[in-house]
């Protein structure tokens, strides 16, 4: 139903589907916007489930192939559910919610958990990927990056893995952020068809990008 776009998800259509009338929905949601917020949460849970099921056959530990699997799973999901992607990841309404009060979680919440969890666990495992290659990011960013560092550490420790502060270098964190920028950029461009020319088969281009992101980080497939 959301397959036909955000505007197609109407209260009356939902009610018809559930077998009740439109006003009855107001017993459960404050408004259409509120309903869409919860819909986003459900979508995020579906995405998380799909990513985890793509991760399952690879074993529990964080290996390099898990990073690639999460990225490819994200792309696959986005292409298979463009409207959902658009709703959760490309909406100006800050519809992502969960709880606006408890602060931190953004980026589709559930997806952020999976992606950042795998990535940061991998970074922790590879201590100092091939030497000390990651250059220091500009000082202006240090404050923000340190905040992000805390988020990552909290994410990983929540899985029971103990972390010492200094094993996540700011340079690597900046790389991780750039990885998200490029992953998101490619997927969004593909979903919205905004590449500057018609790409016949974007998949090898995606794989090439993944390599150029992760191989310099010491994460080789």
């Amino acid at each position: 139903m959301v397959n036909h776009g955000r505007e197609a998800v109407t209260l009356r259509a939902i009610a018809r589907e559930v077998g009740i009338t439109a006003p009855a929905l107001y017993r459960y949601y404050d408004s259409r916007e509120d309903l869409l917020r919860h819909l986003c949460d459900d979508i995020c849970q579906d995405l998380e489930a799909e990513l985890n099921s793509a991760l399952e056959p690879l074993g529990g530990d964080a290996g390099t192939e898990q990073v690639y699997a999460v990225c490819r799973g994200f792309r696959r999901w986005a292409l298979a559910h463009p409207q959902e992607f658009s709703l959760v990841f490309a909406s100006t309404e800050n519809v992502i919610g969960r709880r606006d009060t408890d602060g931190e979680p953004r980026v589709g919440d559930q997806f952020g958990k999976v992606f950042l969890d795998v990535a940061s666990r991998l970074i922790l495992k590879h201590e100092h990927p091939h030497g000390l290659a990651a250059p220091e990011p500009p000082e202006v960013l240090h404050a923000d990056l340190r905040a992000f560092q805390q988020v990552l550490i909290k994410t990983v420790t929540a899985r029971g893995v103990p972390v010492d502060e200094e094993s996540l270098h700011l340079g690597e964190i900046f790389h991780l952020l750039q990885a998200w920028v490029r992953l998101y950029g490619h997927v969004a461009l593909e979903v919205f068809g905004r590449f500057p020319f018609a790409v016949s088969d974007p998949e090898p281009m995606f794989d090439a990008m993944l390599g150029s992101i992760f191989i310099p980080m010491g994460i080789e497939e």
Copy 2:
């Protein structure tokens, strides 16, 4: 009026603004969707004008600072007009149109022209940026990259600058494509607030990204 989002741009509101009634709009547009398509074209023209006016004080030639100016101008425009950005650059409806028949032009049409024009002219000027650094992209991409190469050559020659085929290496073209991925990725993430943590001031992060994109291409600020 589009500032309040795509859904706020209603036929009756437009008609009220123009001083006519809603059905009269059907004399000029086939449907609301058609009107939105033309609106996208207008938005693209505004963007092009803004970018060109940002380029003007830098002189006519393609210098390195022009690349940075276009990228910063794009970000500035997107942040100042999030709804317009969303409409043109993050919409699943292929609302970009112009003419669906004549094939090629995508990516907000006008913006593509400005960005690709400046970038490719610069690449042509710097022949072989610092040696032969750009590695060959995977062979699977060569066909698509060559098509993109033709688009670039056509863009540049349309400005009167003659080009020989071989001065635009495929590696550089791939870099240019990755530059678009990262530029778009950062701007969209910022517009939609989908960075994985709260970034206090994204501008230095944007500048750091521009550097890490262009400095390896030999385009230093």
